[in-house]
Amino acid sequence: MQWLTAIRAISGVRGAVLSLGRAIGAGTALIGCALLSAGISAAPLSREHLTVELIAKHSTVVPGASAWLGLRLVHEPHWHTYWRNPGDSGLPTKLRWQLPDGITASEIQWPAPDRIRLGDLRNFGYEGEMVLPVRIEVPDNLPAGSQVSISLDADWLICKEECIPDKATLAIDLPVTDQAVADARWHTLFEQAEAGQPLAMSWQGHALATGNDVSIRIEGSSLPDIEGLDAFPIQTQLLSNGDVQFQRDGADLLIQAVRNEYFSAAPSTMDVVLTQGQGASRRAWSTTVSWQEAGTQAASADAAGNSSTPVANGYTMHSLALSLLFAFLGGILLNLMPCVFPVLSLKALSIAESAHAPKAARRDGLAYLLGCVLSFVALASVLLILRGMGQQLGWGFQLQSPLVVGALIYVMVALGLALSGVYLLGAGLTGLGQSLTEGQGMRSAFFTGVLACVVASPCTAPLMGPALGFALTQSAGAALAVFAALGLGLAFPIFILGWLPGLRRVLPRPGPWMNTLKQVLAWPLYLTAVWLLWVLMLQVGADASALLLAGLVVFIAALHGYGRLQLQSPAPLQRLALLGLCLLGLSPMIAVIRAHDPAPGATTSTHQAWSMQQLDELRAEGKPVFVNLTAAWCITCLANERMALSSDAFFNQLRDHDVRYLKGDWTRRDPAITAYLAQFGRSGVPLYLVYPRGGGEPELLPQLLTPALVSAALSRAGSETSATDTRSHP
């Protein structure tokens, strides 16, 4: 280096230095190869399988401005050098600058890398001709006419299959001028490097690591399509370097990756570069995602648990037997929750129908129980499998799927029309006149049980929340047992009714009143369909919902025609037409599948949309916070909001105590909310939390709120001394 400085000191005239530099460069390139020592070169330097050169975008520098320099790398075909995260093997290229006083150089502005395959190994790096750009800042006190001499020690590893570590010292001299003079030779190369720069995006991303799986959800606007997409973590030892999979979930982008086998510690965040396409049309983005460990969340929630919390509101539950009991009791209580309202009319009907046939009543009760338990177990199995695959889901996931909600709308309308007498359910086209078979009653009881499970269970009841939270952290067998106990509990009251002789005395004998009752009970089912349609609108927006509504009209026409045909024996063509009409009516489901989510939860003057970051910020400021985790399909949540969380008194109290109100909407899938629920050992909504002023653990409120209860909790949280004693006075 002293040698180089000496040469520079001697050479005053710019042109002389440039040509001298080139001469020295060319000379040392030869010597460098021969001696295997680092050369000093202002000209392209040919090394093994690679030509390197220090280049500048402009051939002069301007005082007070920044300038772009770069290490130009020309790889021999099939040889590559490495990105900042090199992947399975390799080393990133390193640069060390010798800069005149006052000039500073940025880090390498790494262009997005390629995924380079070597058998089963994956490397991240570059091939062909490219430049690693670096921005330098030139001080404004440099006199025009002077000159800047910069040298660079570059260290790289170049590999095909074999690898060669190498290094070189490169130099460049740039005259100082008032106007920058572009160097046409490198224009394209720098343009490409700029195009290859990942665009920093303000997307929201969360990585959730569960066992070996890491699922990343990215939310935000202008997310790329998954076609030709690739993702590279900037940090090493986080994600496996193998291929990642992409999926769109509504507007969100999902990335399925595998945990790196050399993973050693969970970071708080991970930087990811996304790329799309190849060559000149390639695009790249970068974003930062938070990193959460599924396991440690539960662990830290455990640690945060407070023994003075009543057990039913406790963060976690440790015994399977206790969980089974709680699930069973929770299932019974679920019958008293507003959530169960949609299937109430069906149940009332089944009771009335069988009250005077005790044997049938018992049999139907059993079928209902079976329907309940089996569908709970089936839903839980699907939930466990999806969670095992890294999907961040909780209980109620079935109603987070617009497809299920859409299908339920058709089911509700179809059932309602049957009760209204538009057609005869289960009798078939030629079956009119046959009395309902014994199997018929059983079958309908079974499906009532299924509906009760699918529609009514997603809201969590008291006792049920902790039990489910426990179940989802257990082995599959234990988890399924807890869900089965829940189904047993839900079905139990109806089941037991069949064994009560008193019922027969209370209800009148079957007669024409039964038909009237059926027709009356159809109306609550239509209302249920309206509610489900509202949920669907929140999930897929007005367009797809309107289409479904139109389809529903066609579907009703089809069922109407079906009812009329049941009175005669229809021709094959008529049957076919009916089937076509029915399919046409169902076809809007395709739009529901393809629909993208509308805008996420809005912030209003009374509340803000929940996010972990928002909550953390408010907690850091020491503000008391009321958190409401809700979903449109959770009628209990809606009832609570009507009853206790929408009065002027409630909002006045929020203001008086300076309590911030965060609302998390779980109507659609949201891994962040799922993870947050898990912190409290929950896997379903509603969940109400009140964080006290000045920090400390939140108080959990019950699933059924009263204005008095909320008021008391808010004043506890809002008072200055609340942090220490709230938990002992629930």
């Binding site: 399975d88 070597l118 590999c159 193998g242 999907q391 299920v404």
Partner: protein, 202 residues
């Protein structure tokens, strides 16, 4: 449908990711193997039960291996073997690839380097390397006397091909061996392996 499509695409994920991820996991039983050594003798992991075993993936033509065979690797081998540790160098290079050797070739390398490993095993099919997920040369693994994997990763803490970095680096293998000897938990049980890629046949 949505659930079905999720299930389906998840299944695709599992079939599509064919990266070289080890079945070897620290804290679990190390994959068993039997290989021929440079003397033509069959050696298996099982025969060293009760002893700590170091596995070193090697390729004498790789610059990173050369870096550590400037003295560091031999010194670690000697110290370990003197301590009753079994040190197995393994070459998973496919025949014809850079650094792949037969028994005689391996013996020549051992002699030239004055290597002090217990044995030099030849894994030309690459199956043992893939079982362990050996990605680089060098790539180091330590198996304890009960057959449990206790360390996997790089030989030291500074990923470079520069010999002058060796004294500045933490030597993870020596450190882990010392901790195991004293009955302590291994403080750094995994680290990022660095070096040339293992020259598998594919």
């Amino acid at each position: 449908m949505k659930l079905l499509s999720t299930l389906f695409s998840s299944a695709l994920i599992f079939s599509a990711s064919s990266s070289l991820d080890a079945r070897a996991v620290v804290g679990e039983a190390a994959p068993a193997f039997t290989l021929t050594d440079s003397q033509g003798k069959l050696r298996s992991l099982a025969e060293f039960k009760g002893k700590t075993v170091v596995l070193e993936w090697t390729n004498s033509e790789c610059p990173f291996v050369k870096k550590h065979y400037s003295g560091n690797m031999q010194a670690q081998q000697k110290a370990a073997v003197a301590d009753g540790v079994v040190w197995l160098s393994i070459n998973s290079g496919a025949p014809g690839k850079q650094g792949a050797v037969d028994g005689a070739g391996a013996n020549a390398i051992i002699k030239a380097n004055s290597a002090a490993a217990t044995a030099y095993l030849i894994d030309s099919s690459g199956s043992v390397g893939k079982d362990y997920g050996a990605k680089t040369t060098p790539h180091m693994f330590i198996v304890d006397g009960q057959g449990v994997l206790r360390y996997m990763g790089g030989i030291d803490s500074i990923p470079s091909a520069d010999v002058s970095d060796i004294p500045k680096a933490t030597q993870y293998v020596s450190q882990a061996l010392a901790e195991l000897k004293n009955g302590k938990p291994v403080s750094v049980p995994t680290s990022q392996p660095y070096g040339c890629s293992v020259k598998y046949d594919s």
